[in-house]
Structures are given as structure tokens and as C-alpha cells.
């Protein structure tokens, strides 16, 4: 028996979601069901649709791939193996603000299972925000020195391997001597660059004062480091300041 015209019309006029709902609700069978399934497959192959039991999570993670900062990184390093981990770290940095500890732990376990400590380093690099000035640095470096993706990738690998050694976090209750000692320790290792971070107004004031003191004494100039300031605000409005110090001797 041929399929009634109105059913054929329906199958070919509905979008995918409605077609699936209609096929189930109308309990199509036989040739009508076969036509509906073929149409479902054809629409699916347009690559526009997806299903996941974690819709909110999937949208959140896919949105990170559309941010300017992520696109800039991709432009610098191409399809680097760490991109999905950086994306996860950025996603974690958003989750942290909502306190979704269980999800964060699960992500870390999954990453550790496949990429071990190196993978966790990459996730931490992104989840702590260190990746933001790092991307700025890589992007500037690419432009200034006309480097190709391979060169920039090496820089990114250095950052992921050494990020703890090249990052100083200043808290509101950090002591002056500790901040200065940590900055000096960074410079003693002579990295191409290092970062100082502060979260929130009080931490920023403390970091600013100590960096200004060192700068006024000509310490950075003497050690060959050029200073850049970078500011952003997180989702809940907390100021995040960082200072990037780039070794200019090597130029």
C-alpha cells in the first residue's frame, strides 16, 4: 500500500526535531516509517543537529570555542593537542564561580587518565586564567617576529610545562617580602616571560604597589624585562589584573 500524500508532505515539510516527534507520535509503520527514517538521516547529515543528555554543558563548552581569545589561540597554534584541554580549563574557570566541584573533579580525572600530569597542567593553566595573558603574549609574538605555527607551538609547550614556575599569584593577604621574593625567583630563572596575577581590588592594590616599587628601583630594566599590564573582569565582576614581563634581551 502506498503512503498517503498528506503523510509524505508532512515528512518532507517538517524540520528534524518536529519530524522525529511526529514519527513517534503518529506511530508510523511500514513504508511511511521507512521514508521518515530516510528523511531523518538526510536531515541529520546536514550536520546542524545534535543530541546530548548534557545540553547545558555542551552549549557551554561549544561557546568557549567561539570566544575571541580561543579563536586567537587557535590562530596562533592551529590544531595543537592541548586545545581541547585549554577549552576545558576555560570552562572550569566559569564553573568554579558557580561552585560545581563535582563536575570539575570529573573533568580532572578524565584529563588525567589520558594526558596525565601534563594534561592537568594545561587545564590548570586555563582554569586559573594564566592562559589569557599567555595568549596575548603568543599573539603579539607571532605578529612582532612573524613566527609560524610551529614556532608558536613550541612557546605554548614551554608555557604549559613551566607555568607554575613563571606565574606569581598575589592575594590580598600576601606579604610584601613574599611577593618580591617570588618575582625575583622568576627572573632568576631567566624565562622568556613570566606573569604576576591578582584577583580582586585588594590583591590588585598590593600587587601594583610592589611592582611599582621594583619598577621605580629599575629592577626590571636591569634584569632585561619589559612590563605589560592586562586587565579583565570575570563573570561576577571581580577585577583580574595581571602583569606580563617579557625578556627583551633576546630580541
Amino acid at each position: 500500500m502506498s503512503v498517503p500524500r498528506e503523510i509524505i508532505d508532512k515528512i518532507f515539510s517538517l524540520d528534524l526535531s518536529d519530524l522525529i516527534s511526529y514519527t513517534v507520535a503518529a506511530k508510523l509503520t511500514g513504508e511511511a516509517l521507512a521514508k521518515a527514517k530516510k528523511r531523518i538521516k538526510d536531515l541529520w547529515n546536514q550536520r546542524k543537529y545534535g543530541f546530548t543528555p548534557s545540553k547545558e554543558e555542551a552549549i557551554g563548552i561549544s561557546k568557549i570555542g567561539k570566544t575571541e581569545i580561543y579563536k586567537r589561540l587557535k590562530d596562533c597554534v592551529g590544531n595543537h593537542w592541548s586545545l581541547n584541554l585549554i577549552r576545558l580549563g576555560m570552562y572550569i574557570s566559569e564553573l568554579s564561580e558557580g561552585g560545581k566541584r563535582e563536575t570539575i573533579e570529573r573533568i580532572r580525572e578524565d584529563v588525567h587518565r589520558k594526558y596525565h600530569k601534563t594534561g592537568i597542567n594545561v587545564v590548570n593553566l586555563a582554569s586559573t586564567g594564566t592562559i589569557f595573558p599567555a595568549i596575548q603574549y603568543l599573539s603579539d609574538l607571532k605578529m612582532r617576529k612573524n613566527l609560524d605555527q610551529q614556532d608558536i607551538t613550541k612557546e605554548l609547550d614551554t608555557i604549559t610545562d613551566e607555568w607554575k614556575r613563571i606565574t606569581v599569584f598575589v592575594k590580598k593577604d600576601s606579604k610584601k617580602k613574599d611577593i618580591i621574593a617570588k618575582i625575583n625567583r622568576c627572573m632568576n630563572h631567566r624565562p622568556s616571560f613570566f606573569f604576576v596575577f591578582s584577583y580582586g581590588h585588594l590583591a590588585k592594590e598590593k600587587a601594583t604597589k610592589n611592582i611599582a616599587d621594583l619598577n621605580n628601583k629599575g629592577i626590571f630594566q636591569r634584569e632585561g624585562y619589559m612590563l605589560y599590564t592586562y586587565r579583565r573582569t570575570d563573570k561576577v565582576g571581580t577585577e583580574i589584573f595581571n602583569w606580563s614581563f617579557e625578556l627583551v634581551e633576546r630580541e
Binding site: L16, S17, I20, S21, T23, V24, A36, K37, K38, I40, K41, W44, R47, K48, Y49, G50, F51, T52, P53, S54, K55, E57, A58, I59, I61, S62, G65, K66, K74, N79, L83, N84, L85, R87, L88, Y91, T103, R106, I107, D110, V111
Partner: protein, 83 residues
């Protein structure tokens, strides 16, 4: 990365979608490839995929075990590399 429309589907609708794309579900809820009659393996975790935890994603019919990690890997490896 292209925008994906994530659909809301109930259990029967998901079964129909999987059926249309060439998959069955066995008595334990494991997704089976019709062409081989064997359990389908998640290309990211390398493990069997349970119906309740299956994300069905665009591409050459990619079904994955769902987690933040697998979703991120899917976006990076299956979508962005084709741009």
C-alpha cells in the same frame, strides 16, 4: 565552529533517531551497530556506549559517552578541524 542545534528528545524519539542512523539498543541498553551487530565503541573513550549516556553528534554519525571531556574533545577533533 558551526552552530549545532541541540534537540530535546524523549526516550522513544532518541531510539528512533539512533535507529534511523543505523543503531540498535540491546537488552542492557548498550548501543549496537546494525551493520556489524556488535557494540558500537565511543571513538573518544574507546568504550561501549550506554543509551542513557549517549550524545549523538553531527559528523559521520558520531555517538560518544557523554562528559565535559568527551564533548570538548569532540568539538576540537571532529568539528573545528574541518573548518
Amino acid at each position: 565552529m558551526p552552530d549545532i542545534i541541540f534537540m530535546d528528545l524523549n526516550k522513544d524519539e532518541r531510539e528512533l533517531l539512533l535507529d534511523s542512523l543505523g543503531f540498535d539498543i540491546d537488552g542492557n541498553g548498550i548501543i549496537i551497530e546494525k551493520c556489524t551487530n556488535k557494540p558500537y565503541m565511543c571513538p573518544i573513550t574507546g568504550k561501549e556506549v550506554h543509551f542513557d549516556n549517549a550524545s549523538i553528534l553531527p559528523g559521520s554519525t558520531v555517538v560518544i559517552n557523554t562528559s565535559a571531556y568527551t564533548l570538548s574533545e569532540y568539538f576540537s577533533k571532529y568539528l573545528e578541524r574541518r573548518e
